[in-house]
Symmetry: C2
Subunit: 456 residues, 2 copies
């Protein structure tokens, strides 16, 4: 098998951890890419993973943990002694600390916070209190702020003195504040470079800079960065005090994560991402919670068929077309769902524009319904040579395509307006309604012309 | 209707363009967010859109065009006189120019390139020659490079002199090159700030900086930025010459775009994104190309049912369960597809690890298959009171769930290895195989115990 001839870095990793060889372990991990090291860690046993993290220096362990998806990283840190977990967290930027603390159970989070430096723990606790997708949850608290009456010389001196500490900071701007901590200006590093040393921050800063509130949503932040070509934006509290910086790339990552999670939800993975390194029972339970709702909806939809058993017995060929119409309507409807989800994400439609969306979809439904209806009718006619069977099947396919694209286009907007998650609920609602409607159309049309089909 | 009481910015926009009032138009657009202005433009007629773009100053028009999705933006520019389109393109960063030129038809692209400044056109043509998701297609050519023997003073002087021209640049680093243009070093703006003016670039630059080749893939770039906390990375050609800069946020945006396009493909929108502002026939044709493949696959799968017409006639209740088993197996299989796609994107599995993936999925299939089989069997028993019917339906559901998760988990890996797009092809392959298998299981098991069911 091709599996066997590949290199297996996790075996080496496990052995090095076993031997407690910190230096070789660190050298070895430096050579691996983020993906490779995350992959290698996922292959180790829980015990081996713990050994790797306790063998490495905290800063190297932090880098390794940051490479892993959050749920996996939190699991792993949770298995370490609280002191060790706190040491590793200390080496991470504030927003990643907060994300991981949000993933821990309550009790576990308290133990680890107790082991951290009190000031750092207080800040992490504060950040973890924000939802992960508002400015407060995305911001970092590593930034440079100076009093607005400081001179350029003083700022540059401080930058020189603190060079080592600031080397982890993502410094592109320096912020200016009033005595009360209120944000009053921003100074791009470039302007600092070009300014005469004697001038004051207040003289050359951009006054009344744009800032976002700590509760600003991911949509609002995305819109902000779409509108302004900034690398980061300062975050302020109710009183206008500077509390952190949200960086463009953290916003982009959160948006990419949302696109990814919409994709997962559309395919039936809900309640957070699943990784194959999770325990089997947890994976089964999560998937089953979704499947068990779906099977009930399916049984409800199929009950329409049960009501037409006599027609089915008379024209058994109809049983062949029921799953086809069900599946094809689902496909047509899901295309409309996808376009609506996309346009919602891009801000090209608002949730209120239900009528406009429907008008745009019904044309597609008419034309594609006609095409699919003719195709399926033709297939039925070629198979059985019964023109009425072909007409019933084709007409049902055509009509149900119109129904499916109409519902598919509108459902995400309606769900969004009702504050449900459209990525999650659009699929099941769509397929249940289109299945019921499709089964009803085929079987009731067939019942109407029953004499002609069986007689034909 | 709620639609009617909302403000309608596109009406104002159309009126202002009609009156040719450039200043009011510009002021008005400045107030709108990116999403709002893109939305407003989408609502105007082709003629009105053209008027807006010819009324505005080229730089304002460029900002508006950048706010729109690429295909829409290219359509719009294509309708303008080539000279006007060239003026607007001139105001955009090089990578966005190239993206739009890639969207034009060949003839149209040539006309617009002919109207551009020859040097700029040559560069745009060169950039448009790269695939959109390699370093060459993502890079910008607006960067600052100095000869390595220049002094810090000379560099800072040039920055001062060129301040206006550079103000559009996203300057965080200055690059150092040899006489032949080969990249030799990089200098963060911060180091430039802290250096004594008399020193040379070569003295304080970081030598042998990390760079990527112009053909580096999006995956490789993603991995690079995961591994290194850089804002941008220099791009070099075969000879090691500096040719551009890829910025982290452009890579993140391209990745987010790919996650979004995987989502669209999974729901059946292929061949580029669809917008409802596109012509009806183009939207129908695109969706139909996907649907028509699907309907053929569906007919093939349903032909299994046709082979068992006698069994179906004898136990017509089976017809109720066929669509349920088909749909539920699709759901279970799609969950496994989603997890595999996610793990492939995160780099947690490699396409060769088919056996490992299967082992991880088959456990889920066994347990969830058991649960769903019992549920569906119970439903059958409650409805008809026939224990053999319940056993047939339950067993078929359980077995087919195992088949579905196995195929769902492995298919994306196999497709990726064969260099097919897994987001696109996994769904249809999965549902065709699981439908055929599911129909066969129900009907062949029922045939085996036919005497007992009808006798029961």
């Amino acid at each position: 098998m091709a599996d066997d001839i590949e290199t297996r870095p996790w075996q080496d990793l496990g052995e090095m951890a076993e031997r407690g060889d910190a230096r070789r372990l660190e050298e070895y991990l430096t050579e691996l890419s983020t993906g490779e090291s995350a992959r290698a860690m996922a292959r180790l046993s829980a015990e081996e993973r713990g050994k790797v993290l306790t063998t490495l220096a905290p800063s190297d362990a932090a880098e390794l943990v940051e490479a892993m998806p959050d749920p996996q990283a939190a699991d792993l840190l949770g298995q370490l002694p609280a002191e060790r977990a706190a040491e590793i967290l200390h080496e991470m930027p504030s927003n990643e600390q907060a994300d991981l603390i949000g993933e821990f159970g309550r009790e576990q989070a308290e133990m680890i916070l107790a082991a951290m430096d009190p000031a750092e723990a207080g800040e992490a606790r504060h950040l973890a209190g924000f939802a992960p997708d508002v400015a407060g949850g995305l911001m970092i608290t590593e930034y440079l702020a100076y009093h607005q009456t400081a001179s350029i010389e003083e700022v540059v001196d401080d930058l020189r003195r603190g060079a080592e500490r600031y080397s982890d900071y993502d410094v592109q701007y320096v912020y200016a504040t009033s005595r009360a901590g209120v944000l009053t200006g921003v100074l791009p590093l470039r302007d600092l470079l070009l300014a005469r040393p004697g001038r004051l921050v207040a003289d050359i800063m951009i006054s009344q800079p744009r800032a976002v509130h700590e509760e600003a949503t991911l949509e609002a932040l995305g819109e902000f960065f779409d509108r302004h070509h900034f690398i980061g934006v300062p975050v302020t509290d109710e009183a206008g005090r500077l509390v952190g910086i949200v960086r463009r790339h953290d916003v982009n990552e959160a948006r990419a994560g949302r696109a990814g999670s919409d994709y997962l939800k559309a395919l039936g993975i809900v309640g957070g991402e699943e990784l194959r390194s999770m325990p089997l029972l947890r994976r089964c339970r999560r998937r089953l919670s979704w499947l068990s709702i779906n099977i009930v909806l399916n049984i409800i939809a199929a009950s329409v068929i049960a009501a037409y058993q006599d027609t089915l017995t008379a024209v058994i060929a109809l049983a062949v077309f029921l799953p086809i119409i069900s599946d094809m309507s689902g496909c047509s409807g899901n295309q409309a769902v996808a376009v609506s989800m996309r346009e919602l994400t891009l801000g090209l439609i608002r949730p209120t524009e239900v009528v406009r969306t429907w008008l745009k979809e019904v044309g597609v439904g008419l034309l594609n319904g006609l095409a699919l209806g003719v195709l399926l009718g033709l297939a039925a006619w070629l198979w059985k040579g019964e023109i009425y069977l072909a007409l019933v099947v084709g007409a049902a396919m055509a009509l149900n395509t119109i129904v499916a694209v109409s519902i598919g286009g509108m459902v995400p907007l309606v769900l969004k307006r009702l504050r449900f998650d459209p990525a999650l609920a659009s699929g099941p609602i769509l397929t249940t309604v289109t299945d019921m409607c499709g089964f009803f159309l085929v079987l009731s049309l067939a019942t109407l012309v029953l004499a002609r089909i069986t007689g034909g």
